[in-house]
Symmetry: C2
Subunit: 334 residues, 2 copies
Amino acid sequence: MSLGEFDLIETFFWRRPGQGPHRAVVGNGDDCAVIAPAPGMQLAVSTDTMVEGRHFLSTVSPARLGHKALAVNLSDLAACGAAPLAFTLALTLPRVDEAWLKGFAKGLLDLADEHDCELIGGDTTAGPLAIGITVMGEVPAGQALLRSGAQVGDDLWVSGHPGEARLALDAFRGSLHPGLGTEAFEATRLAMERPDPRVALGVGLRGLATSAIDVSDGLLGDLGHVLRRSRVGVALSLDELPVSPWLAARSPDERLNCILAGGDDYELLFTAPPAQRERVTQLGAELGLVLSRIGQIEAEPGLRLWRGASAGASEGRQAVPNRWASFDHFKGAA
Amino acid sequence: MSLGEFDLIETFFWRRPGQGPHRAVVGNGDDCAVIAPAPGMQLAVSTDTMVEGRHFLSTVSPARLGHKALAVNLSDLAACGAAPLAFTLALTLPRVDEAWLKGFAKGLLDLADEHDCELIGGDTTAGPLAIGITVMGEVPAGQALLRSGAQVGDDLWVSGHPGEARLALDAFRGSLHPGLGTEAFEATRLAMERPDPRVALGVGLRGLATSAIDVSDGLLGDLGHVLRRSRVGVALSLDELPVSPWLAARSPDERLNCILAGGDDYELLFTAPPAQRERVTQLGAELGLVLSRIGQIEAEPGLRLWRGASAGASEGRQAVPNRWASFDHFKGAA
């Protein structure tokens, strides 16, 4: 990198006005950054790489890309009930473009500031556009929300409105007939390009939820991970799925496909005992977040989809075959 | 990734016989891994990405590449005096090649096991070959070795024989006249492709060294970071530089260029008070590592090179102009 390019990176990422290292004991610029989790806290760590053409379209604005690159990592912390602490950034860039860098840094660091998550180290390399982030958070010892904790009889909950990101992606791909109107396109595109990680929900669910995962590969696919890890099954009520106004306007098939197999949603899917229903509902109200009770954990392994009865009720319900392949879809390792 | 490809990654990286998670409270496979630094310890974090063609040649064996990808990160921990704890791996692969993956995983995980550094998370993506590692280590609170601690009067030390990696690189580039013999080529190639991170030295220097950095950009370039951060200068004796047998056989110009401006060495450059000379020498003997005292920290900023007198002595010494540009070379950001 030339001196001028180096200066641009320094300016946008490391020398922000009014910002000094606050979480790091030793900040960026030494061989390592040094951080200290609070006494009694354990460190939750997650890593995600986003590659152009695979994880994002070249049409995305740099600010939204910066936001999303951190958001998907914060979402992993949320799914563990961990509060964000710090992150490292490995940036591979085809060229150093001032306007791009400025926008990317703004999207990234605005979200970082919102969650008090400090950029403590990084590395910039020439090459095809890719963004690698490793995020660190803290969670009280033994209180991390795991995929393996779902218990028979637990309610299954999901936050927000999964499926919007997939609807936008289908619109980009030109595979929607009829297509989306401008308003629906912009709204669902925002869900795809600028997801809100459910950090406050994850922290609020400590001691309340028995298991949690974030919906990145599609609701049924991610639910599958919880069922396998917890060695349980589920009865899921299609009638209780939260349907966003944009999805309500689509055909029933398209709607269910987006909600159940869409992915890229970064909502939380979690289980909690029925005794906690009131507290979960109250938490959702406090956070201004729709939390929907969509099923119940059962002892018999596997996934059973139902219509015609609310979650947990067995009277009057009709089985629906699972036509959504992502239930057996494996994540890109690790 | 197909199921078979997923299985290969699982087999080589995550399901090793006789290996279970030991450092991680929650291992790979949940949304986050969870680790717990010991009480009183702070966490040192460093991240490095290696991209084909830029950080390594396509001729390198996968095992050596796996070794080096982790080694350069462990070297950053060493330069902070931190003991390795855990790391995450972000692998971008053009294709899933079983033989390559097997070799890469072996080189990587053998070095990880040697330093008891657990692979706790990762992510595999399709794309041009790149390896991103974030390493975490622990260091007693307040004892991290920083670039900013060098004091006037301190000795300047360097471990091992810097310059060999550069000699091998020049041989690969075909810019050596005469070329290297087979034995010299294989030996220096090993230094370039399979560096030994000085982890035990870094830990041993806690409370002994006042500052430390690892030599990745060239001795003078990295020394410059220490001088600027510590706001001091240095008198460096060219006569005291450690010269490996392979470099001794080259012309004086080539020799000095490799040692002073070579880079990619991953030796430690550190400062310590003269009162610690005996303990530093003893540490080197215990570790079977050559430690050379090559200069002295002075109050006047800048770098002064000398010949004809040992480090610290001013009688009979002759100034040598600095012809090695890397002194003002900036690292690839952050």
